[in-house]
């Protein structure tokens, strides 16, 4: 039996919980109503259907947005005759998500090229809350692949920021402002690459690029992420898949500390995998600021052509 005091407390708690639920429901409704049919996060579904529809021999590229924007699948196919599916969407998915969602589509005879961006390795394998939230809302079928206590906390933390972003884009729509972002579903081509005429240029100054690069690379990988990478690579090899790992683009004029961090990262990866796994070394994938688009792993059109040509040259595959 509850005491009079406990009844009062229960009443107060019910009111507080009720208010919180109403507020949450309003926020959730607004969030669902603001879903964007052209969201870049929806390219995940497109890439999964490409994985189902693309015939062998095929190269499956895994990574984050740096893979989506920085690999020219069409060029690769022209030069090698190998079909390509570029599955990179966001590094913020985390390696565990890639392991759960993309790896099951890979089978015997496939060739996998992993392009592990710096974030993929230095963030925990569970991924970035903001990106996971966007992914869940735009691809609800992947809820089961995402939900665990860590990601729930990460997504709850990210909810306000994500929601503010949605409000901004709604405001843009209402005011008739057209988004010039290359990151939209309509810019994802038949291979899964981001392809847009806007990629012709570099929209970040060399100074800002150097600053951004400085904070981008950490000398050590997250141990959980590295373990996940080792595990998923081993499981694919067991299935008879050829697995290669190459390197994220790096600004050639990056500060010394960044270069040292990149070297340390390369040494760490080389320790974890046999040398035959690697396609070139970090120094093969260093570029001037003019070849980047908007961020330290995002190359523009000219940059990705150079990178893809280098990968074709260094990768030991011939159709």
């Amino acid at each position: 039996m509850l005491t009079q005091e406990q009844k009062l407390f229960l009443r107060f708690s019910c009111k507080a919980i009720g208010l919180a639920l109403v507020a949450f429901a309003v926020v959730a409704l607004l969030a669902l109503a603001s879903r964007n049919s052209d969201s870049y996060a929806r390219s995940l579904a497109k890439k999964e259907s490409l994985l189902g529809a693309t015939a062998a021999p095929r190269l499956i590229v895994m990574g984050g947005s740096g893979s989506a924007i920085g690999f020219d699948s069409k060029l690769f196919k022209e030069k090698t005759g190998v079909n390509v599916v570029n599955t990179g969407v966001f590094a913020g998915f985390g390696l565990r998500f890639i392991e759960r969602v993309i790896v099951p589509h890979v089978g015997k005879g496939d060739i996998v090229l992993i392009l592990p961006e710096y974030e993929l390795l230095h963030q925990p394998p569970g991924g970035d809350g903001h990106i996971l939230l966007e992914t869940v809302l735009e691809n609800p079928s992947h809820v089961v692949d995402i939900l665990n206590p860590h990601t729930v906390v990460a997504m709850t933390r990210a909810l306000p920021g994500w929601f503010r972003g949605r409000l901004e884009s709604i405001a843009h729509k209402i005011s008739g402002k057209q988004s010039s972002s290359v990151y939209s579903l309509k810019n994802v081509n038949a291979f899964g690459d981001i392809d847009s005429p806007l990629l012709d240029e570099s929209i970040i100054s060399p100074e800002d690029m150097a600053k951004a690069t400085e904070s981008f690379i950490r000398p050590q990988a997250d141990s959980g992420s590295l373990e996940t990478l080792v595990r998923m690579t081993a499981s694919m090899k067991e299935k008879g898949v050829k697995v290669f790992i190459s390197w994220a683009p790096l600004l050639e004029s990056a500060p010394t500390s960044t270069m040292q961090a990149a070297q340390s990262r390369e040494a760490e990866l080389r320790k974890a995998f046999p040398s035959s796994t690697f396609v070139g070394s970090q120094k093969d994938f260093m570029y001037p600021a003019g070849l980047f688009y908007d961020a330290p792993t995002h190359l523009n059109d000219a940059g990705r052509t150079q990178r893809t040509q280098k990968i074709i040259k260094l990768m030991p595959i011939r159709p």
Binding site: E5, Q6, L8, F9, R11, F12, S13, A16, L19, A20, V22, A23, V26, V27, V153, T156, R157, A158, L159, P160, G161, F163, R164, L167, E168
Partner: protein, 481 residues
């Protein structure tokens, strides 16, 4: 764990449930356990320091209370003071003093460097040490009786809502509440919930949205013209106010929901018409602590004018040092002391400005000057910021002709949206606080119909979610003290 940590959203309801499910006479155990858990979630070792302070002051006060001999009473008071201040010295001031001595050696050409300790400053140590000291001093002064219940005294020192950043409670106000039968009070709880919501608004919507610009301007002042630095100094005044008073509101609100009341710590400080008034409205629990335990024992204003002046200066210098082991804080305290000395001297000559449209902004500007020292990393950094403020005006004016230049000069690169939200938040907060101080907000809320009130609560919660800054890890500024 702090109030803006997502774990607090789980911790606090669990504490409430456990507290109100427990029979009233055992609730102190729940709250004490919760308080130690809260504190030890930062670093488990912190619990030992807290326990050491508690045991020391509990025993000292008992011995002071038991003894009729003045010498013995004084000796036990000294044990408490030396123990508490010794702890504070080791953790907070040892490196500062030894480093300063080494700097003097270096200035005279010696390469001698004194050894430094590699200790992590326990969060909020200055707050709970001061709260605990006030107990032994009050027992010594016979203002309160020593308590025989160790657990409830331990709760007085460790009570989690105000443990890490105050308000610094006095034994007379908080300790008796733990001996009373504090039942759930719906009206007090509702007031507490309002206070908590208001505190979260101040912290997340104002303080944390202003942080990027303020941090950028103070990190690389040379990148900004004077007017932007002046703006950053003014915004820092609000950032620190909303950060600290936001914390206090959440602390007071959480205590209210649990059935306890904590003292008022802020009372619209930037509406002050003089620096003296500012210090009666800003961090009231610390100002009154220094008044009662430092300024008055030094002689207060009972001696000559010069003695009063030196007492004031000494009190403010100590207050500066209390905030942090850095010369910037000492100078911050010193400037405030000088302001008060000047104000007192002018008042003695019959020159008072009174509260006016002129005195309030003037006081705000004077206080902003001191905040530059408080926020800067070094004294030379603060001086260079102040020296730069009047210099960039032509550059600033010429930039007004180009949108791009204006964006840079006004530091819009650092998040125009966040800056605008922060500034609008300040206007909203000052307006609401103005009406709150006249009792209008409370009266309107009390008489509003339930649906209207709940609609307002939901709208406020949504606004908090939309406008709050949740991205960065912005810890409460005063935790470092």
């Amino acid at each position: 764990m702090s109030f803006v940590d997502i774990r607090f959203l789980v911790f606090f309801p669990l504490v409430l449930i456990a507290n109100f499910l427990t029979p009233a006479r055992f609730r102190w155990i729940v709250l004490l356990a919760a308080s130690y858990f809260f504190y030890m979630s930062w670093k488990p070792e912190y619990g030992l320091i807290l326990l050491a302070i508690t045991v020391l002051d509990f025993v000292s006060a008992l011995m002071i209370g038991k003894s009729d001999s003045h010498a013995k009473r004084k000796a036990w008071l000294m044990v408490s003071l030396v123990g508490n201040i010794g702890l504070l010295f080791v953790f907070k001031y040892f490196n500062f003093i030894f480093d300063s001595i080494s700097s003097v050696f270096h200035a005279f050409g010696s390469d001698t460097s004194l050894p430094l300790l590699n200790l992590l400053l326990p969060i909020g140590i200055s707050f709970h040490v001061f709260q605990s000291i006030s107990y032994t001093i009050d027992v010594y002064m016979r203002r309160v009786e020593p308590v025989n219940h160790f657990g409830k005294f331990a709760l007085y020192v460790a009570f989690f809502p105000q443990l890490v950043a105050g308000p610094i409670e006095r034994p007379k106000t908080l300790l008796p509440q733990f001996f009373e039968d504090r039942r759930f009070n719906p009206e007090l709880a509702r007031r507490g919930a309002h206070l908590m919501a208001w505190g979260f608004f101040k912290k997340l919507v104002i303080a944390d949205n202003l942080a990027p610009l303020v941090n950028a301007a103070f990190a690389t002042p040379a990148d900004f013209p004077g007017p932007t630095l002046a703006l950053a100094a003014a915004l820092f005044a609000y950032q620190i106010y909303c950060d600290f008073s936001g914390y206090t509101d959440i602390a007071r609100g959480a205590a209210n929901i649990l059935g306890y009341e904590l003292v008022l710590n802020f009372n619209r400080p930037y509406a002050s018409g003089s620096v003296g008034e500012f210090w009666k409205r800003w961090h009231i629990s610390l100002s009154s602590w220094f008044r009662d335990y430092v300024y008055i024992p030094l002689g207060g204003n009972r001696g000559s004018a010069s003695r009063t002046r030196s007492n004031l200066l000494a009190t403010f210098l100590l207050s500066g040092l209390w905030h942090g082991a850095n010369w910037t804080y000492v100078i911050w305290g010193g400037i405030n002391g000088v302001y008060l000395v000047i104000e007192n001297a002018l008042a003695k000559r019959g020159i008072t400005i009174g509260k006016s449209l002129f005195s309030v902004p003037l006081t705000f500007i004077l206080i902003c000057v001191t905040w530059v020292f408080f926020r800067a990393e070094t004294v030379s950094g603060a001086v260079s910021i102040l020296a730069r403020i009047p210099t960039g005006i032509p550059e600033f004016l010429s930039s007004l002709t180009s949108i791009d230049a204006m964006r840079h000069v006004l530091a819009m690169d650092y998040g125009l949206q966040a800056l605008l939200i922060g500034v609008l938040g300040i206007i909203f907060m000052e307006t609401v606080d103005f009406f709150r101080s006249r009792g209008i907000v409370h009266a309107r809320l009390s008489t509003a119909s339930a649906p209207a009130r709940y609609a307002l609560y939901v709208a406020f919660a949504i606004a908090l979610v939309c406008a709050g800054s949740f991205g960065g890890a912005h810890q409460f500024i005063y935790f470092q003290f």
